[in-house]
């Protein structure tokens, strides 16, 4: 079945483009340490809000040259009281590929020094400018993407077992168990989800390490979505539980938990796959919204949402539009996931024509 789905996805023009785009994004995120010109912790306080580096391939004598860039120097515009940056044309800095730069540990284990793209010592290469602390936006997008693009999947892996089991038990046992469990799920659904999200995020204690915080945000995201999913599973279990194979399992004396987990829940597989692919983007959006408000992933860690936090000051953005790049990346990633999700649904569930 998996092969067939992949083939259908590849045959659809939009789905194919989406698969390629997502493939490229995840590839870049996997090799982030190598692709990024700077490491995660790099910051140059004298270089706050530097615009993207200009790369030249034609030199001042109109000759073709190896690509090079100039550093920016800070100046002060007395009239408008603004800090300005201009190119320091006195020294060329050539762009080097696969050259040695800042040391890092590839995937956290293998020590390496070579970067895909970097410049000579003393030169600064900011492909997408820098932020308020003089950190390279391009590098941070790569490191932040690792968080933004995985947190949704992780939340799903926490949420789906809970939802499946909860819905399974509620639907199979029925009666008073069902009523109590479903009332509770409905109550969770009655709280506007974003309200619940920000409240849960705000009660997290402040002294946590970034890994702890990341894991707790995953759990919180999962806590928001399980109820709706459990309800749908329950509905499906209700229709499956009267089927003959369930009766058969019962008559040979299988335990109730075994019947639920081994016989009933596998019947919901195709629904689960569709629901999962369709809900990844909404978790990416939730995380970015949460981090945008400052309640999600915290500095100095990057995520696409918290990088956009600086966009809250619109004066900031008017002069420094490069800070908006993470927003476009969220948009592209979510769009690609949506297209793939729609296509998978069409393949697995030909009757539904929502797309």
């Amino acid at each position: 079945m998996f092969k067939e789905v992949m083939k259908k996805l590849w045959d659809d023009k939009f789905a194919r483009i989406s698969l390629i785009v997502l493939g490229l994004i995840y590839f870049a995120l996997f090799f982030a340490d190598f692709i990024a010109p700077y490491t995660k912790d790099f910051s140059d306080r004298t270089m706050a809000y530097v615009p993207p580096s200009k790369i030249f391939i034609i030199d001042e004598n109109n000759h073709l040259s190896r690509p090079y860039t100039y550093n920016y120097v800070r100046g002060f515009d007395e009239e408008n009281l603004r800090i300005t940056y201009s190119l320091d044309r006195s020294q060329k800095h050539y762009i080097k590929f696969l050259a040695k730069g800042q040391p890092y540990k590839f995937l956290g284990i293998i020590p390496m020094k070579r970067h895909l793209i970097t410049t000579d010592r003393g030169g600064r290469l900011f492909l997408l400018g820098t932020d308020i602390n003089g950190r390279d936006v391009f590098s941070r997008i790569l490191f932040g993407g690792r968080i933004s693009m995985t947190i949704g999947f992780l939340a799903l892996f926490v949420l789906f077992p809970i939802g499946l089991l909860y819905g399974g038990i509620s639907g199979y046992f029925g009666g008073i168990t069902d009523t109590v469990m479903m009332r509770f799920a409905e109550a969770v659904m009655s709280i506007p989800s974003f309200y619940l999200l920000i409240i849960l995020a705000s009660i997290l204690p402040s002294g946590m390490t970034s890994v702890q915080r990341f894991m707790l945000i995953v759990v919180i995201l999962a806590l928001i979505g399980w109820a709706g999913f459990a309800r749908v599973v329950r509905g499906m279990v209700l229709s499956v539980k009267t089927r003959e194979f369930v009766q058969a399992a019962k008559s040979i004396g299988a335990s109730r938990l075994r019947i639920i987990v081994k016989h009933i829940l596998p019947q919901t597989t195709s629904f689960v796959i569709v629901a999962m692919t369709l809900s990844v983007p909404s978790y990416i959006l939730s995380e970015s919204g949460l981090s945008f408000l400052g309640l999600g992933i915290q500095q100095p860690d990057a995520s696409w949402g918290n990088m956009l936090k600086e966009a809250q000051e619109f004066t900031n953005i008017i002069y420094r539009p490069w800070l908006l790049t993470p927003g476009f990346l969220i948009f592209i990633a979510v769009l690609a996931f949506n297209v793939i999700g729609d296509t998978i649904r069409d393949v697995l569930d030909p009757k539904s024509r929502t797309n």
């Binding site: 009655s190 989800s193 974003f194 009660i203 959006l285 919204g289 619109f314 948009f331 979510v334 949506n338």
Partner: protein
């Protein structure tokens, strides 16, 4: 008469739901290690007497079950306590809830006015270029993060100067005539409404299209066609009525989604609504305000679903016969 009975039954069902909601919210908030009166204590304009009254009212020196009982009792009496600035929570809510309702109502009306016809058009011209174009546009609409779109529109407003940046009213609002005031509010609403409209239009249009496609495929539509009814009669007299009904159920969900989506939009546009209120309350760890806004959000959501259900029994006679 039957309808009234049904409505009463639904209202009674909402009560246990609200109790569970309040229990969940109460325990989540009390789980937090924050001192609920910390801000109040630091505020020099709050007298010692008020502090004492709050401690007693919340029963902070007693076990958590007693605290909950105390809270529930005063909530039923309509006493929601005071915010960390010393204002009454109920006044604050009264000021903000109408604004959020105004915003969401306008958005729902607009999405229905635009989304339903677009859904019909897409279904009637299934797999045509128009249908494909609409699918692409709705995909794009679904993928833009609301806060990012809001920021982009804000930049647009600043650059062009065509729209006010944030708020709901201008500074000279009170000096304007009634018409001027209405126009002023409308002017401020354009950008937030645009964001939320784009967000919720996509889902509605797709659902309408899917429903109508399903109905057009059914036997009675084939029969209506076979007996020679005009295409217009088939679509607008037979198919549409049945395709609309599931949409009404969706109305409740849409309202829920809007309440959540509105929070970020309100925050970016500095719109004085419930979403921004709860955000500010959370950031200041203003417990009374958080608790009250959570309850209000839940009540609004449950009411929204109730209204959708009532509309449904009015439009769909089958439910009246079977369910009541």
């Amino acid at each position: 008469m039957q309808i009234i009975k049904y409505i009463l039954k639904r209202i009674l069902q909402a009560i246990p739901l609200l109790i569970i909601v309040s229990l969940i919210s109460f325990f989540i908030i009390r789980l937090s290690p924050v001192d609920p009166l910390a801000e109040l204590r630091l505020n020099p304009s709050v007298s010692q007497e008020t502090l004492q009254k709050e401690t007693e009212r919340l029963g902070l020196d007693k076990p958590i079950i007693v605290q909950y009982a105390k809270w529930a009792k005063s909530f039923l009496k309509g006493d929601l306590g005071i915010t960390s600035n010393g204002e009454r929570v109920s006044t604050k809510l009264k000021e903000r809830i109408p604004n959020t309702l105004l915003l969401t109502t306008i958005v729902i009306l607009l999405t229905w006015l635009v989304g339903v016809p677009l859904g019909i058009a897409a279904a009637l011209h299934w797999k045509s270029p128009l249908d494909r174009l609409l699918t692409v546009l709705t995909s794009i609409g679904m993928a833009i993060p609301s806060f990012f779109f809001a920021v982009l529109l804000l930049i647009f407003a600043v650059k062009t100067g065509w729209f006010p940046i944030g708020g709901l009213t201008s500074s000279d609002f009170l000096e304007k005539s009634l018409l001027g005031q209405i126009l002023d509010i409308a002017h401020h609403l354009i950008l937030p409404v645009t964001v939320l409209f784009t967000l919720s239009l996509a889902g509605l249009q797709r659902q309408m299209r899917a429903n109508l496609l399903d109905v057009l495929d059914s036997d009675y539509v084939k029969f209506a066609r076979a007996k020679g009814l005009s295409e217009f009669d088939v679509v607008y007299k037979h198919a549409l009525r049945n395709a609309i009904n599931p949409m009404i159920t969706l109305l409740g969900f849409e309202f829920a989604g809007l309440l959540s989506g509105a929070a970020l939009t309100e925050y970016v546009f500095q719109y004085p609504g419930l979403g921004r209120l709860i955000l500010e309350a959370v950031m200041r760890s203003d417990i009374n305000l958080v608790m009250a806004s959570l309850m209000m959000g839940a009540i609004m959501l449950i009411l929204g679903n109730l209204i959708a259900d009532i509309l449904l029994i009015i439009t769909d006679p089958r439910i009246r016969r079977s369910d009541v």
